[in-house]
Symmetry: C2
Subunit: 108 residues, 2 copies
Amino acid sequence: MGLTKTEEFTKTQNDLASLTKALGHPARIAIIQFLVKTKSCVCGDIVDELPLSQSTVSQHLKELKRVGLIKGDIDGPTTCYCIDEKVWNKAKKAVGELFDSYKEPNCC
Amino acid sequence: MGLTKTEEFTKTQNDLASLTKALGHPARIAIIQFLVKTKSCVCGDIVDELPLSQSTVSQHLKELKRVGLIKGDIDGPTTCYCIDEKVWNKAKKAVGELFDSYKEPNCC
DNA sequence: TTAACTAATCGCAATATTACGATAATTTAA
DNA sequence: TTAAATTATCGTAATATTGCGATTAGTTAA
């Protein structure tokens, strides 16, 4: 079918999956790393940094915006992208809790 | 195209993306949570727990095995799945470093 | 051996994703 | 106003993902 059965899972599960899915592409990891390390965050700079076309980069930015990890402020003709601190910290906590929930081998 | 330009990104970027992509489905999050909380980890128990068919669950297990987060020991007619501690800790570290790399708002 | 059980794989259909060029929308500069 | 620059969106093609039923492969029990 190609259609995830979202309604069969909990909100937590769907939210975590949505977040990790958004990070699940090397271009989007690269965008995040670039936004973390640079002070400027003009869209054009991101396009220049990535080995992808402008329209493709724009799509990846949209996906990261969808989950809220980044936000874009329109500033004249350009758009200034950056990490959304609040959502970032929430995501960090959620993913951290998942990884921390495993303590030690149960079997095998 | 539908084909990620893997070769244009660094190994770190591809590895992180591959890992988060594997976590990017609610069924796979549910599987991980189930393996974390239960002591038993028989494949059939996972199938019973999830609202998906046996073949679909098997596919999700395969994806998690592909990135190494879980491993499956064939034990007679059943297969015993569990978290792979070593890969888990590596993944935890890699994702943790990504989230920790962001310190404070740069702009916007 | 046969039968029952477990789990992986195959084949298929529906939908999603990735990527690009072209176009549109917006803003600034001339 | 016109032209240039920036970014979003549209349309399209190729590939990937999700899900299921059916089948296959393997093991155990009778």
